[in-house]
Symmetry: C2
Subunit: 196 residues, 2 copies
DNA sequence: ACCTGAACACCGTTCAAGT
DNA sequence: ACCTGAACACCGTTCAAGT
């Protein structure tokens, strides 16, 4: 279920066998990244795709390039979700609903979580993935800040790191994720004045 | 700065060269685990310690056994901190101060964070490390719950996972850690009624 | 232009052979 | 009892040789 090549429109047309190989590699990568997480063996991916490991490396120079190609469409999907959610909910709820979506994606695909976490860490942050996600999220955060729905001083990076971290420690149990995210959003501490 | 062998009092006395090797391995492991995190190369550790890799594997059967030996005393230290803190602060503050300490340890030693995270995940949870830490933390949590200082239903595992996760995504910047932990404790959401 | 097999420099783990 | 060197089955990456 990976689109053949989302950003391969540029450049000269590829040979038919090269296109087939590329698609086979992506297909195999999806399965093994799902099973083994971010450091699935490239060798095994190549084997399952029925190509030599050298072929994999020429299509995707380095681990990271493969991850980006695999999760490219899922990141676009998360950006689209931001727009859709923004239209349906008030600022604070929208931001939080979107972050919960991201957490679910990250918990279901540890490799995606690892990819994004690296991007957040980069001070450069000029990565394509973070760029798109960052713009989508910043809109939601700005609206929330304007509505006074988040703690002052909270950055988008803070929030993305938090949900990523929570997703990473929860082992696929989506009930756990929801509980920990709730704690993060509402605070683990009992509010001092509960009934005003 | 690793005690020679904290749980080697049991069993027959070891040969002098074996003791020296064991100590050298631990020393090297401390350095390389600090530099490379949880999956530092065992081979490189053995090399730096000046022993064959087979020797390392006989002293410590598997990656995990080495991690446990290295961080044994640091875990005891965290347990001791729990007692000390409990005597000085009211329930809620004590719990939170202790969790902040743990986060700092985990952020400074990613390998320690990885070791603990595995223990939290284990449903068995009969691990020595988690056992001691769990008992120490549960006391603090029970006191806090009795004082109504934490959200009802929060478990110790929730809290340990959260601080571990936060520590893991913060790259050694202790200011970042403090900010994210604060969000976790107080909630990222702006409380609805702020001035009662 | 693209693929392949082989090579290189690494892993973690195990085991027979030594003292 | 303990250590060693060699072996085994893996990695990721690169490169010359093929079509």
């Amino acid at each position: 279920m990976v689109r053949a090549a989302s950003n391969s429109d540029a450049g000269p047309p590829r040979r038919a066998d090269a296109q087939r190989n590329r698609a086979a590699i992506l297909e195999a990568a999806v399965e093994l990244l799902h099973r083994d997480g971010a450091n699935a063996s490239l060798e095994e991916i190549a084997r399952r795709a029925g190509v030599g490991s050298a072929t994999l490396h020429r299509h995707f120079r380095g681990h990271r390039a493969l991850l980006e190609a695999v999760f490219d469409d899922r990141i676009e999907q998360m950006c689209a979700e931001a727009e859709r959610i923004a239209e349906q909910w008030p600022a604070g709820e929208a931001l939080w609903a979107w972050l919960r979506h991201i957490a679910q994606h990250c918990a279901a695909e540890k490799a995606l979580a690892a990819l994004l976490r690296n991007d957040y860490g980069d001070t450069g942050a000029q990565n394509r993935s973070f760029g798109a996600l960052g713009r989508a999220g910043q809109k939601l955060l700005d609206r929330s800040a304007a509505a006074d729905a988040v703690q002052p001083g909270v950055t988008l990076k803070d929030l993305l790191l938090l949900v990523n971290a929570v997703a990473d420690v929860c082992s696929d149990n989506s009930a756990d994720i929801d509980r920990l995210l709730d704690l993060t959003w509402n605070g683990a501490r009992r509010p001092i004045a509960t009934n005003c």
